[in-house]
Symmetry: none
DNA sequence: TATGAATGAGAATTCATTCAT
DNA sequence: GATGAATGAATTCTCATTCAT
């Protein structure tokens, strides 16, 4: 009932509007922003938000799921380096997502979505190693760890483009293995 | 009156107990933990916490200051690689500190303490470059960015020792410049 | 959403009950009385009070507005002397209102309502001067000043009917100009 | 122990400084100002204030007593009209005193001091009636009521000199009985 | 289903008062 | 006597969640 998409057209529309609003609000103010603010931004009543997402954590989980799915999609269109650049670049705009990936007290369980992203990155890594641009000794876990770390850093560090490029350059050099 | 350390011995003791309690509580639950909980853990009344630190942010700032000062001290006893390892290793236990370094909505201004840490790391970097173990093209900003990123990653990613070692290995390879 | 009166019937009823309770509570204990006490007297939860009046000052302002509006209404049904008598007579029962008219630290901005009262009294004054029962040299500002002063005095002085009559008699004699 | 002046010279000095500070602080911020602020202004520790005045109300009562005594003194040097002018003129600067005369929730019992003031004003009234400048039908209670009312009005109404003069003129005309 | 009002458990902060130093 | 740290009840305000309309 909660997971599956609602039947009625207006309900589906509301669900989408709520997700969009939530993404925007939590991106701007972090997960501390109130659900009321999300409702306001979505143009629906607070009750509607809670009907679609019984708890705030459910709403946050839904955002994450959607965001991760988008990342998976984007991963298929780039090589590993470009993907890193892309993800890190938009990390700062996704306060909520990064907070969530980070934990930040909220209890959000979305193992599947994370798993899918891991798979996608795994494919990029394999490709890069096939191409010889990443050393063979590197494994997926540390690549994921680096990706997550850099997102956090980018988000909270307020990096400008230049700093981001230089920081990624160090990590890329490390991945290439010299 | 409020800024300097208190004169009386019992007040100093309480101040320290509050800081210790706050560090523990915020480390465990993040900055969302209540000041009341800190007071409870410190074994003092809530008013005592607010007498020492007029706002919650002041308390958080004090924790950060102390932690950064300790890091500066620790930086002098290690080379850059060992320092990275050390800091990242204990990052996971310092939820609050990392949250704060991260921003997380709380308004905590401690520019001096951060500056001192930057200086200390700068010295380690210079030394490492003198020793030829880090490539000359690397600059302090990206080193700080990497350090902060890895702390975040370690904190929120729940890395085990092995993953941490492998992740740092990639970054260290990048710093060495191959 | 917050400003206008609520749409739903039950909300309107609650709003009125809260205003009534607040008027009673603040009349009895002054503006220092707690919002919690108002909620209790109104038979609603504390959150409901704050939903209707986001800050305590908003609640106080709303009371004042309502009271001043009632005064304006009452001004139209009496001559200036009767109006003075009437207002001063009930002043003692309106601790909060008088406190507020008085300032008392609370920040309550209701210029319009005050302006309307001033207009109403201005009309009474003009009428009285037309009728020749008040000397022509008297102006509105001092009439308002006297009215406010007497309210304060009546409130805090604990006047009985007799003292009130005698005090007003002096002021009325002054207004008549002998 | 509490009422009588303390024996030791420094204690007497402290008592006076505390009273001065309290008068200034409460005049500026009203009776809501904290006792801590009074201590700060007096340059003593909070404990010293409470040693001299076991409760805040005791402190307020002491201020009132002193102020009323001064008024009594001043009453002997003027005629009734000048005294009214004088008292009303400085009312605005004596927020606390007026608040207290007013009641404002604080429990301050100083019947003697008020009685003395009443006596002094009684003498002025008798003199004025002897001189034929105030009509014989006016009695002391309404004169006191008018004085108190006008102080409140002046304090909270923010009267300028002109408005004050015009307002007093009406009351004086009433007292003269035309 | 949607609405939005009501609930009530916290959370931060203040301050009169007490008491150890 | 003076100091100033500690206490803790009280207060304002927030917000996730429930439920009547």
């Amino acid at each position: 009932m909660v997971d599956g998409p609602p039947r009625r057209a207006d309900a589906q529309r509301n669900r989408a509007r709520i997700l969009d609003a939530a993404e925007a609000v939590f991106a701007e103010f972090g997960t501390r922003a109130s659900t009321e603010e999300v409702a306001r931004r979505a143009g629906v009543a607070i009750g509607t938000v809670f009907r679609h997402f019984p708890t705030k954590d459910d709403l946050l989980a839904a955002i994450m799921k959607r965001l991760l799915a988008k990342l998976v999609e984007e991963a298929t269109e780039r090589d590993l380096f470009a993907f890193f650049r892309h993800v890190v670049a938009q990390a700062a705009a996704k306060k909520a997502a990064v907070d969530l990936l980070a934990g930040s007290g909220v209890d959000v369980r979305i193992p599947d979505a994370v798993e899918h992203l891991r798979d996608a990155v795994g494919r990029l890594l394999a490709q890069a190693q096939d191409d010889g641009v990443i050393t063979a000794s590197v494994r997926l876990p540390e690549v994921m760890a680096l990706l997550a770390s850099l997102c956090q850093g980018a988000l909270h560090g307020g990096w400008d483009d230049h700093l981001q490029a230089r920081t990624l350059a160090v990590v890329f050099a490390g991945l290439k293995g010299c």
